[in-house]
Amino acid sequence: MAGPVLASIRIMSSEIKNREITADAETGRDFAIWEILSVVSSGLLMEWVVLSFAGRSKLVGGIPVVLALGFMLYSHYDRGETLREIGFRTDNFLAACRLLLLPTALVVLLVIAVAWLTSHSILIAPWRNRFLILPLWALFQQYVLNGFINRRAQLALGKGLKSVVLVAIIFSLFHFPNPLLALLTFVGGLIWAAAYQRQPNLFALALSHALSSLILALAISPKLLEGLRVGFKYFG
């Protein structure tokens, strides 16, 4: 008599556990979308609201960035992600570079061709010392874009086209309303997000990003790129 009862209790408890696991996974996916929205809203707040209100005050302008960065770091800690998983690693650097070599070379050649066709010169803009920090700036952007947003997008939408396009749209959105930058960053976002999903290495992505940005800043007329201004600054 007790045997069938115990067996049915075991089956019921196993079903409840399965439902809990499914619910947990769904919650994790839904929450990943909230995490992306939170980080994106911080970036847009800084570009469109805080910079326009706070003007030159870097202290105030930095508040959304510090909040977003703090949140992202805590999220990695909470979800038990390691630096290696995020992409701060060297073991797949060459493999990631091999993936990025052709698209980066194509972008560089395309930019040089456009520069030559429009002004019969390759290097138009003068060298600026701020270009020296480009690799670090590129690494930071790639960390936010791929080390955080891409990873959360994969949680929410899975690996593949959907999450890659979402990452590219977000990267492009950060460069609005500058039309040329928005277009170029969408293309760049597609390439880097796809490469990250195959070989998650942020150093290789930063190298490709810094190289493309440098060539773009030196070869394309600042007028055409609207001085690389984005957000509210674009209008001022």
Binding site: G28, E35, S42, R79, G80
Partner: protein, 152 residues
């Protein structure tokens, strides 16, 4: 990758609340800096144009720069530094030198609306804002070019 803990949810909500507070505080600060509620003034139609006075209560000795717009178009600007003893007698200003006059001529016949704005600089001259002084004034211009208060 682990599922998020309740603590992470709380951190996200906390971050959103802090951002909302920062943006709210910035909005209030910006409003007070760009459009400070310290400007007072009045204007009226006279035989020759539009006259009035303007005072910045936050800086009572300052001579306020004013601009005249008629039918939404800029007409001219002036510094409110003419004698208006009645303004200081009434207690609106510390001294009598807050008056201005905008002569109006060559205005087409018909009814027009004049607005006087106080010009305010903020952010070290980076931002300029206009604040309406008093109420918009309706005036009419007859066939001879003379101006009259009101619509007719």
């Amino acid at each position: 990758m682990k599922n998020p803990s309740t603590r992470l949810v709380h951190v996200l909500i906390g971050k959103s609340i802090v951002e909302t507070l920062v943006v709210g505080a910035l909005a209030v600060f910006t409003f007070i800096t760009v459009l400070p509620p310290f400007f007072h003034g009045w204007s009226e139609v006279t035989e020759t144009g539009i006259s009035g006075w303007a005072v910045n209560n936050a800086s009572p000795w300052e001579r306020v720069e004013v601009q005249l717009f008629v039918d939404g178009k800029f007409v001219g600007d002036a510094i409110a530094d003419q004698a208006r003893p009645d303004v200081s007698t009434a207690g609106w200003a510390k001294d009598a030198w807050h008056g201005y006059t905008f002569p109006i001529n060559s205005m087409p016949r018909g009814v027009h609306e004049a607005r006087i704005y106080a010009l305010h600089d903020s952010g070290g001259g980076m931002r300029k804002s206009l604040q309406l002084l008093g109420k918009p004034i309706l005036f009419s211009v007859d066939a001879s070019g003379k101006i009259w208060p009101g619509p007719s």
